[in-house]
């Protein structure tokens, strides 16, 4: 569109143009004054003093691609850096807020002036942070610089961080296992102190041997005493028979009856031997002898019923039996005691063997764990040294911190008003252009020619 056409348009549409401009200017200026705040921008800078890009560490997303100096500005707006900056400056940390925060940050590599001589390899990233106050913008710029530097170092040492973290976990696991083994050993030692030395085990075995020997002796003695008691136990019966025999023999009535019976029985025997059964008086004799036999047996029975306790021999025999039984009982009790002690000793020996085995296993495991712990500790120390070395290569550090923020030019009130007026002007122009397009009019001969489909023979303008 030519200037003349714009001028013509303005002449034709000056009324809507004026109205649109006034309304837009009023609204935009109100917004510019009341709504749009003055923004401040602060700058901090980060120096990458690298020996060369090939010395820089790998990016986290690639195992082989190094972080180039040209990538540094990108680090300023990574999600990790944004989240950390938001935490540092008290910014909301939801995704929408982080996206807004990203719009407040600009990071660029500083462009050296033409002809500048590079004194040392490296790059400077200028970080610009816009905020609603001078201090906020400075704090934001500094937070971005620091978090970007930290993020870079984290990325630089990340592969070693993974390794050291893994080694640390292994070392901790070994240490914990050793502690558990030590605790187990301590518990076993407390429960069975002799486990600490094998001599104690041997002494327990010797004690067991001694007890076993003693038990054998006691057992042999007990058997002897038992045999003696068995022999002695028969003596009271013999003494009782003798005592009863003596009681019977010493009884006068029994003796008279027995003598008479003997005499008559002898006479009967002689008669029967000398004479036949026809001897007169034989049946009476036989009857007499039978009666006497019964008398003798009856007296004997009566005498047998009397207790022989008063007999000295019988009483002595009873005493011997009692003494022998006491000895045998004593031996049996002693034997039982020995058996109990031997059982306990046997149990202790058995338990001691199990504990000793467990103790030995624990000792061996502790040795293995300790050796592994030593190896892992050495590897961990080596990894940490490598990590420190990696962190020192291609170091990135905050070069300059922002002290305060300066007002952003386009947010200063006069500029805002001027911009609002300019925008209102644009809106007014857009309005009349829109009106012109909305109403299809014959503004030019070309339009007339197209509409009429006939040539223009003359123009009166």
């Amino acid at each position: 569109m030519k200037v003349a056409q714009v001028k013509d348009l303005l002449l034709r549409r000056w009324r809507p143009f004026t109205v649109a401009f006034l309304i837009a200017a009023l609204v935009l200026n109100v917004l510019a004054v009341l709504v749009v705040p003055t923004e401040y921008a602060a700058e901090s800078s980060v120096l990458m003093a690298a020996g060369g890009d090939h010395d820089t560490p790998s990016d986290a997303t690639s195992a082989t691609k190094p972080i180039l100096s040209a990538d540094l500005p990108y680090l300023a707006t990574t999600a990790t850096v944004l989240a950390n900056v938001a935490r540092d400056i008290g910014w909301p940390r939801n995704p929408h807020a982080l996206v807004q925060l990203m719009h407040h940050i600009k990071a660029n590599l500083s462009a050296p002036p033409a002809g500048a001589i590079a004194l040392a390899p490296g790059a400077i990233v200028v970080i610009r942070f816009t905020g609603l106050s001078s201090l906020d913008s400075a704090a934001g710029a500094n937070a971005v610089a620091e978090e970007m530097t930290r993020f870079y170092h984290d990325r630089a040492t990340e592969r070693f961080s993974v390794l050291t973290a893994d080694l640390q976990r292994q070392v901790d696991a070994r240490r914990a296992r050793i502690n558990r083994v030590d605790a187990e050993i301590q518990r076993l030692t407390a429960a069975a102190p002799y486990l600490a030395t094998h001599d104690d085990t041997h002494s327990l075995s010797a004690q067991y041997q001694t007890l076993s020997q003693e038990r054998a002796e006691v057992e042999a003695a007990a058997r002897g005493e038992a045999a003696a008691a068995a022999v002695t136990s028969r003596r009271p019966a013999e003494a009782e028979l003798a005592a009863r025999r003596e009681i019977t023999e010493s009884d006068p009535a029994y003796r008279d009856v027995a003598d008479q019976f003997g005499h008559d029985f002898a006479r009967l025997s002689a008669v029967q031997a000398q004479y036949s059964g026809a001897y007169p008086g034989l049946p009476e004799l036989r009857h007499t002898v039978a009666g006497e036999r019964q008398a003798v047996q009856g007296r004997r029975s009566t005498l047998q019923q009397k207790p022989p306790a008063l007999d000295v021999g019988y009483a002595a025999a009873l005493g011997e039996v009692t003494r022998a039984q006491s000895i045998a009982a004593g031996d049996a009790a002693k034997l039982q005691g020995l058996n109990q002690v031997l059982g306990e000793t046997q149990d202790r020996l058995n338990a001691g063997k199990s504990l000793a085995s467990r103790f030995d296993d624990l000792q061996r495991e502790r040795d293995v764990q300790t050796a592994a712990y030593g190896v892992l500790s050495a590897r961990l120390a080596e990894a940490r040294a490598d990590q420190a070395q990696a962190g020192s290569i291609g170091s990135v550090s905050v070069l300059d911190r922002a002290a305060y923020g300066k007002p952003v030019l386009y947010t200063v009130l006069p500029v805002r008003i001027a911009l609002a007026l300019l925008l209102a002007l644009c809106i007014a122009f857009a309005t009349i252009f829109w009106l012109d397009r909305r109403e299809y009019r014959m503004w030019s001969v070309t339009i007339v020619e197209n509409v009429y489909g006939a040539p223009i023979v003359a123009t009166l303008n």
Binding site: R12, E439, Y440, R441, M442, W443, S444, V445, I447, V448, E449, V451, Y452, G453, A454, P455, I456, V457, A458, T459, L460, N461
Partner: protein, 190 residues
Amino acid sequence: MAITLDEQLRILRVAVEADISPPSQILVASAEENDGAPALALGLARAFAAAGRSTALLRLDAADQRTGSALGLRLAELKAEYDVCIVEAAHVLESSVALDAARIVDGVILVVGLGRRVRRADRDVVPALTRFGARVLGVVAAEPRRLAELAAAGAHDVHIVGPARSSLRVVLGETAQSPTSAEAHLLLER
């Protein structure tokens, strides 16, 4: 340097004469009523008169009930009497007399005021006239202010005798050599 209005009218006269040699009859018409056909007809008549052509300006009456043959007869009379006869008819598509005149005259010039809204009649007028057998010489695109100037200037040149009504038929007849050329001679016919 801007071309004056008179020069533009002279250019238009030359363009018309290039197509139609005198004696000729030209219909100046428009698709819309207010497009300035009377002003252009008057200006064109003045240009022909200034060029030494005896010129008649005939303003058609939309309410005229005469047939095409009667109109043709009258135009033939004027043609015999004048070198150029300018017939003025606004809103040509809505007037049967104008359509008759368009069919009878030697050529039709359409005038349209620049800046006004495009209407359906603008697109229909040329096909319609062609269909009726008219010869459309072309279109004159005129700024409204130029047409206003033209009308104002015409008012000084022309003495309108009699009632200046829509039914008026004005015939402008004078030559450049006429002592009263500065003031057009009007014949009134009813």
